[in-house]
Symmetry: C2
Subunit: 109 residues, 2 copies
Amino acid sequence: MGLTRSEIFTDEQNQLSQLLKAMAHPARIAILQRILISNTCICGDLVEELGLAQATISQHLKELKTAGLIQGTIEGVSVCYCINPVTWKMMEKQLGAFLSSYKGEVKCC
Amino acid sequence: MGLTRSEIFTDEQNQLSQLLKAMAHPARIAILQRILISNTCICGDLVEELGLAQATISQHLKELKTAGLIQGTIEGVSVCYCINPVTWKMMEKQLGAFLSSYKGEVKCC
DNA sequence: TTAATACATTGCAATAATACGATTAATATA
DNA sequence: TATATTAATCGTATTATTGCAATGTATTAA
């Protein structure tokens, strides 16, 4: 109780839900948007820009990284983050298929 | 502390994160998939099919309904659920724009 | 070497989410 | 009316998430 019963779902369902969960926070969406706009990378500008404590930003970055959505490399003193192309494209494909499987309203409910 | 600081994010970021959160659970993905496949509606078959308790399924349905992803109408003794076309299409558009804003790897990290 | 900078980690407190048994509410049928 | 059926709700235990101050770690600059 209180623990998601992953074992009764398919790998695909578990995987997709984890990717969604990684994105399901306004701060993490903001971080991703910032990375997407800058195209190249970013660092700790997020702390100033988002208005959250440094520890909190670092935690969100870690979650995005753990989910495989972003990757980061040390760049001197700072750390550079950017989108992980592989995971991103996979998610784009998987989510696209899921969302587009809805074929309009067929007179229901 | 322990409470998401929604006030520092944009309405769009908050809205998108809430839709994602509503989908970010394998059971709710399974429920949505089931509705998408059946196209028409469903009822409490989910309890048998998913292997979760009736109370749990009902709770997940409520979350999906609160998020606006599905809608339900009473059909005699049972309740019929189906996709909410308006929210679904809005999310499809908003998420699509978000995901496709990534323009391939530009030599980074 | 020392100090400063940039992040990551840890530890803690508050809140949210997950799951389910038990109960309730509403409708349909005998 | 009495009973079965279906689903929502309540109560509760357990686990996860969010946020931040404090601390740790590694790299750069003086």
